[in-house]
C-alpha cells in the first residue's frame, strides 16, 4: 500500500511539474478512523497530502465532471470505468483527463464494521494486509478484511483499471470466481409479492437526500427529472410512491452505464441497499446486448444506438 502511495505521489508530482495537468484529484486522510476524503492538489508542495489505502472509497470520477482544466485523477477499476463511460457520453474530452489507474482489492465498508461493533465506537484503526485492527473505549479487535469489504467489491471483475493512462503499482489477480449477479438471482427467485414487500420495506426508509444521485458520476444531468417543477413530472415527497418512482427511474437512467462501483449504497445515510435494483438492469444489459460498461472507449452503449440485430421480441 505504502509503495502505491509513494508511486501515486511520484506520478502526481511529475504530471503537475511537467504541466501535463493543472490539478490532481486524489484522496487525503479523513477526520474519522477508516475515512479518507477527496483532495484537490494543484501545487507540488501539497502532493504529500495524497494517501492510498483501503478506505479510499469515494468515486473521484464525479469530480472530473464540469471542470475545464486538465486533470489527473486517481482511479480504481470502477472509477476508471466511469471516467470511460462519461467520456463516451461526451461529458468531457477524454484528453483532458489523465487516468492514474490503481489496482484495488476492495474498499472497506465501514457500515459493516459498525454493524459488527454495535454501540462500540472505533476510535483508532489500522489496516495491514488482510487485517483491520480497530480500537475503542475498552476494546481492541482484529477483523479479517475480507469480511468487511463493500459488497460491490466482493464480486468486482475489474480490480485493475481496464482503461488508464498511467498504471501505478503491480497488477493484481482478477476475481474470476464470484458470481456478481448472485444477489439479483435471489431477487428474481422471489415472487412479485415478496419483491414488492422487500422494496417497500427498504425504500420506505429513504429520506430523499439524493446522496445516491449526487455521488453518482452518471447523474450529471443539469436538471434531474425529480427536480423539475414546470411541469413537476414526479412527486418530491418521501411518500412511498414518490420515493419508489425516483429510485426506479434512476435505475432505468443508469441501465447499461452503471459499473456497480457501490458509491450509492455507501453514500446512503439510511443504509439502503441501492445497488440491487440497478444490478438487475446491469444483468439485463449483459444478457441481452452482451454489453459491459466502461471497458471500451469505442463501443457505444446499447441504449445509445440502434442496431438491426437488437433483440426486440417484446414487439408482437
Amino acid at each position: 500500500m505504502e509503495n502505491i502511495e509513494n508511486s501515486i505521489r511520484e506520478v502526481a508530482e511529475k504530471l503537475l511539474s511537467e504541466k501535463k495537468v493543472d490539478l490532481i484529484i486524489g484522496y487525503e486522510q479523513g477526520t474519522l478512523p477508516l475515512r479518507t476524503t477527496p483532495c484537490f492538489v494543484d501545487k507540488v508542495e501539497d502532493i504529500k497530502k495524497l494517501v492510498w489505502n483501503a478506505s479510499c472509497d469515494a468515486n473521484l470520477s464525479k469530480y472530473v465532471l464540469g471542470r475545464k482544466e486538465k486533470i489527473g485523477v486517481i482511479a480504481k477499476g470502477c472509477d476508471a470505468r466511469l471516467i470511460a463511460v462519461c467520456a463516451i457520453e461526451k461529458q468531457f474530452p477524454r484528453e483532458n483527463v489523465v487516468i492514474i489507474g490503481v489496482p484495488c482489492l476492495g474498499v472497506i465498508d465501514r457500515k459493516k464494521i459498525e454493524a459488527k461493533l454495535g454501540d462500540k465506537e472505533v476510535l483508532e484503526a489500522t489496516v495491514e494486509d488482510e487485517q483491520i485492527k480497530v480500537k475503542g473505549e475498552g476494546f481492541e479487535l482484529v477483523l479479517p478484511k475480507k469480511d468487511f469489504l463493500c459488497d460491490s467489491c466482493l464480486t468486482c471483475k475489474h480490480r485493475n483499471p481496464p482503461i488508464c493512462d498511467v498504471f501505478v503499482g503491480e497488477k493484481v489477480p482478477e476475481n474470476t470466481e464470484a458470481d456478481e449477479f448472485a444477489e439479483v438471482s435471489d431477487l428474481e427467485a422471489k415472487s412479485a409479492e415478496e419483491r414488492w414487500q422487500h422494496f417497500k420495506e427498504e425504500l420506505s426508509k429513504c429520506i430523499r437526500c439524493y446522496a445516491c444521485r449526487n455521488v453518482c458520476p452518471l447523474c450529471y444531468c443539469k436538471m434531474c427529472f425529480v427536480d423539475q417543477t414546470m411541469p413537476a413530472w414526479f412527486g418530491k415527497t418521501n411518500d412511498l410512491s414518490d420515493t419508489i418512482i425516483y429510485h426506479v427511474v434512476r435505475a432505468f437512467h443508469v441501465a447499461g452505464r452503471c459499473v456497480d462501483c457501490g458509491a450509492c449504497s455507501r453514500a446512503c445515510p439510511m443504509d439502503l441497499n441501492l445497488r440491487e435494483l440497478i444490478k438487475k438492469t446491469e444483468k439485463i444489459m449483459k444478457e441481452r446486448y452482451g454489453y459491459e460498461a466502461g471497458v471500451s472507449l469505442e463501443e457505444v452503449p446499447p441504449l445509445g444506438e440502434f442496431k438491426m440485430e437488437d433483440p426486440e421480441e417484446f414487439i408482437k
Binding site: 477527496p38 454495535g118 449526487n214 427536480d227
Partner: protein, 346 residues
C-alpha cells in the same frame, strides 16, 4: 425560572421497571422513543410490537420530524366553478411524550421553537404538536468522538429543552425534574422511589466524566463576527470543492428547518428542503442566485453561524455530529469552523 415553582425531589427507577412505566405512558400518550432496526436507531411510535431500544448512542435521524414531518399535508382543497373549499387538517389532540431524547436533540427544540414561533405568522403546525409534547431526555454517559456539544453551548447532561432528564446510573435511572410539565408527568407515577444521596452523587460524577469525555472541540468565539466579513472570501472556493450537494447534512441536522411548499392535486403539502439543492433558490425566470455549490455551502455555514445569531441570538448547531458521521465524502463541519477561525480577514 418559573416564579415560585420548585422542582420536586429526584426520583429513581430500576431499569427493569422501565417497561412498566413505558406501558403506562402509552395508555395516555403517544410515546416516541428510539427503536433499533438492524443497526439503525430511529425515533418511532412505541407499541407492544415496537419496543424502545436502550443501547443506542443516538438515532440516525434527528427528532425534528416529530414536530415538522418531512412530508406534511397542510390543507386539502376542492374547487368548482364558483367556490374554493379549504379543509384544514384535524387539530392535534393527542399528547405526546418523547422518551430518551439526547440533550443535543432536546436543545435543538429550543432553537427550532425560536424559528417556528418568531415573526408575525407563527407556524401553527409545528407549535401545536410541540405544545402537546413532554420531552424526557436521556443524558449521555459516553459521548461519541464526533460529538462536540460542549463547543456549541450544550453538554452531555444538558437540560435545555427537556422536561425530565433520565440519567443512567448503572442499574437504575435517576429522574431529574426540570420543568413543571415534567413534574406533571412524573406525578402519574407515584410508585417511583425517591433518589438517595448516593444516586445523585453518582450522577454528578458521571456528568463530570461525560463532560470531559467530549474531546472534540471547536471554537466559535470569533467565527460569528468574522463571517460578517467573509462573504467574498476565497476560502469558499476551496471548501466547497468536494461537497456533492446532497441533502445528508441538512436533512440529518436537528436544527435545519427549511421547507418547500408543493401544490399537489387537491392538497397543499410541505416537504423538507435543503439549501444545498440547486432548486432551493431557482427563480421562475430560470435565474439562480446561488448557481454553484460554493454559494450553497457558504449559505449553509453563514446561516448556521451568522444569520441566525443575528435573528435569534443563537448558533443553529448543537454539535450532535450527525453531519460529521454521515457526510458521504467526510466534509467535516468542524474543519470548516476551524478553517474560518484560522482565516486572516480584513
Amino acid at each position: 425560572m418559573n416564579g415560585g415553582w420548585f422542582p420536586m425531589k429526584w426520583k429513581v427507577i430500576e431499569k427493569s421497571k422501565l417497561p412498566i412505566l413505558i406501558e403506562e405512558l402509552t395508555k395516555e400518550y403517544e410515546v416516541f422513543a428510539p427503536v433499533k432496526e438492524k443497526n439503525v436507531a430511529s425515533f418511532e411510535r412505541v407499541s407492544p410490537e415496537n419496543q424502545p431500544s436502550l443501547d443506542f448512542r443516538n438515532t440516525k435521524k434527528p427528532l425534528k420530524e416529530v414536530f415538522s414531518p418531512q412530508t406534511e399535508t397542510v390543507f386539502t382543497y376542492r374547487t368548482d366553478k364558483k367556490d374554493v373549499e379549504i379543509v384544514e387538517p384535524p387539530a392535534v389532540k393527542g399528547k405526546m411524550v418523547l422518551l430518551d431524547v439526547r440533550p443535543c436533540d432536546a436543545r435543538s427544540f429550543v432553537l427550532l421553537d425560536k424559528f417556528f414561533s418568531s415573526g408575525e405568522h407563527k407556524d401553527v403546525y409545528y407549535l401545536e404538536r410541540r405544545k402537546n409534547t413532554t420531552i424526557v431526555g436521556l443524558a449521555c454517559n459516553s459521548p461519541l468522538s464526533t460529538c462536540f456539544c460542549t463547543s456549541m453551548g450544550g453538554s452531555p447532561f444538558g437540560k435545555e429543552g427537556v422536561d425530565l432528564l433520565l440519567q443512567d446510573i448503572n442499574n437504575k435511572y435517576l429522574i431529574e425534574t426540570v420543568t413543571e410539565r415534567g413534574e406533571e408527568l412524573l406525578k402519574k407515577f407515584p410508585w417511583l422511589k425517591d433518589a438517595e444521596k448516593a444516586d445523585t452523587e453518582r450522577a454528578k460524577k458521571l456528568s463530570e466524566e461525560a463532560e470531559n469525555a467530549v474531546k472534540s472541540k471547536v471554537s466559535v468565539k470569533d467565527v460569528v463576527e468574522k463571517l460578517d466579513r467573509m462573504f467574498n472570501d476565497p476560502l469558499w472556493d476551496q471548501i466547497y470543492q468536494k461537497c456533492l450537494g446532497c441533502g445528508v447534512c441538512t436533512f440529518l441536522c436537528p436544527t435545519c428547518y427549511c421547507f418547500d411548499i408543493l401544490d399537489e392535486e387537491g392538497k397543499r403539502v410541505r416537504i423538507w428542503d435543503s439549501c444545498q439543492f440547486p432548486c432551493f433558490t431557482l427563480e421562475g425566470s430560470g435565474h439562480n442566485p446561488r448557481p454553484s455549490g460554493k454559494e450553497r455551502m457558504r449559505q449553509r455555514v453563514m446561516h448556521k453561524f451568522n444569520y441566525v445569531v443575528k435573528n435569534y441570538g443563537e448558533i443553529f448547531c448543537v454539535g450532535c455530529g450527525r453531519c460529521v458521521q454521515e457526510c458521504p465524502v467526510n466534509l467535516d463541519i468542524r474543519e470548516i469552523i476551524r478553517a474560518i477561525s484560522a482565516r486572516q480577514v480584513e
